[in-house]
């Protein structure tokens, strides 16, 4: 059996009296893409934050990239995880180049890498543009440039296609393919299953806070 990069058993998340997730079981193998679907408010983004080790589950247990879920996830494990969420993780006052440069320097990468990676995602002509003066699609492209730079073993995408044009959507597909080809896993969350189907091998649906495995339609 292929090595599991993500393994959750009976995971639950409660915020006070509100139960968002319960008895979630999930197994994602190396090189596999998994889709998670469900209506708005069903707990998809919460599940992604658990998988990103940013939120500690209140019930159950599991491992992400070999590290048990909990408070003390080693930074070395977190550096192998990339999350693209609803809100862009960019500094509005900085240019697109400075935003990626900040990440690059922390990873010990060169300025040339920044320029090359931004060109790769189609932003070669917008290096000096401030992030808060850039479109949603451009901001998303910077986030995908960050993924290419950090080379994650686990890529988590929350509504990755939202607001993207055809070219940017192709970038999502190319990035997912790159991560999987390198033996990493990709978990995509969406309320539009049609766009994620070509990228995943399996789909889970969140029903009443728990996961139900389904089969992707051709």
């Amino acid at each position: 059996m292929t090595e599991a990069l993500v393994q959750l058993e009976g995971v639950g998340v409660r915020f006070g009296r509100i139960t968002v997730l319960r008895d979630v079981d999930l197994r994602v193998a190396a090189g596999e893409g998994v889709g998670i679907v469900g209506p708005n408010g069903s707990g998809k983004s919460t599940l992604l934050r658990v998988l990103a080790t940013l939120l500690q589950p209140t019930d159950g247990h599991g491992t992400v990239l070999g590290a048990p879920l909990g408070k003390d996830t080693p930074p070395a494990v977190r550096r192998r995880i990339s999350l693209i969420g609803h809100q862009p993780a960019l500094y509005g006052e900085l240019t697109l180049e400075e935003n990626l440069g900040f990440v690059a320097r922390l990873l010990g990468r060169s300025h040339d890498d920044v320029v090359k990676t931004l060109s790769k995602v189609g932003l070669g002509g917008a290096l000096d543009r401030r992030a808060d003066h850039s479109s949603h699609g451009m901001q998303r492209r910077v986030e995908f440039a960050r993924v290419l730079m950090t080379r994650p073993d686990l890529l988590l995408l929350d509504e990755a296609h939202a607001g993207l044009d055809r070219h940017a959507a192709a970038l999502v597909e190319a990035t997912v393919a790159t991560v999987k080809r390198r033996g990493g896993s990709v978990i995509l969350v969406s309320h539009e299953p049609d766009r994620m189907l070509p990228l995943v091998e399996r789909i889970y649906e969140i029903v009443d806070g728990t996961t139900v495995e389904g089969v992707p339609e051709p």
């Binding site: 934050r49 990103a52 940013l54 939120l55 408070k71 930074p75 070395a76 977190r78 550096r79 995880i81 990339s82 999350l83 969420g85 809100q87 862009p88 993780a89 960019l90 500094y91 006052e93 900085l94 400075e98 900040f102 990440v103 320097r105 922390l106 990873l107 401030r130 950090t150």
Partner: protein, 226 residues
């Protein structure tokens, strides 16, 4: 994590915060002018008797620095979004490095604030040039650093809290009191020829205590803010 890696993270966080502030320009374009207006208005409220103004001038300077500097020190962490905080976590940034880097950036901004307002205080209040005035340069530096630690700590404590813009100044104000008292008393000590060592020790101790608390609580505070 090696010491070199820690300090590299500190440097990058400080550099990023200063760059963000440089573009936003809130310290120079908003906070400094408001501080200057406060220094200008106070003599109008309490009278223009020259001896009294000269006596209270240094106290006013440190009071205005603490009140407006609080906004400078807290602004950095108040503007962070959840996505930005999570990015730092996933990049494996040590929360203590974030605390130190952010504090250094704020301290530098506060120094700029003080350096601009100090000559204005001299012009408006005309305090006597006391013997040993170079000690005041050290005091200005320690006040900037202490206030930066307090502001960053308050920002970390209130991160993710909906009422943080109200709560943070309430936390900063009482913690700033020892900074205000000791900095004013150093000037008074120099003016009256008294020993200033106890007040300098108090300032150093405050800075050290705030730095230790900030570094020690950085990780648990970062975890609870998620």
């Amino acid at each position: 994590m090696t010491a070199a890696e820690f300090w590299r993270q500190v440097f990058e966080i400080a550099r990023k915060d200063l760059k963000v502030e440089g573009r936003a320009g809130e310290v120079l374009s908003i906070t400094v002018p408001f501080g200057a207006v406060a220094l200008l208005l106070l003599p109008m409220a309490i009278g223009t008797e020259k001896t009294m103004l000269a006596k209270i001038g240094p106290g006013m300077f440190f009071g205005v620095t603490l009140l407006f500097g609080m906004l400078v020190a807290f602004r950095q962490s108040a503007s962070d979004t959840q996505a930005q905080r999570e990015l730092l976590t996933l990049l494996g940034i040590d929360p203590a490095a974030t605390f130190v880097g952010r504090s250094f950036a704020s301290a530098l901004l506060l120094l700029v604030f003080e350096v601009i307002l100090a000559p204005l205080t001299v012009i408006l209040y005309n305090p006597p040039l006391v013997d040993g005035w170079p000690w005041m340069l050290l005091i200005i530096l320690l006040v900037a650093l202490g206030l930066a630690f307090v502001g960053t700590l308050a920002g970390a404590v209130t991160a993710g809290v909906r009422t943080r813009s109200t709560l943070a100044p309430l936390l900063v104000a009482p913690l700033s009191v020892p900074l205000l008292i000791s900095s004013s008393q150093v000037y008074e000590g120099l003016r009256l020829g008294r020993s200033i060592i106890p007040w300098i020790v108090l300032l150093l101790a405050m800075n050290l205590a705030l730095a230790v608390v900030g570094v020690a609580t950085a990780k648990p505070l970062e975890e609870t803010s998620r």
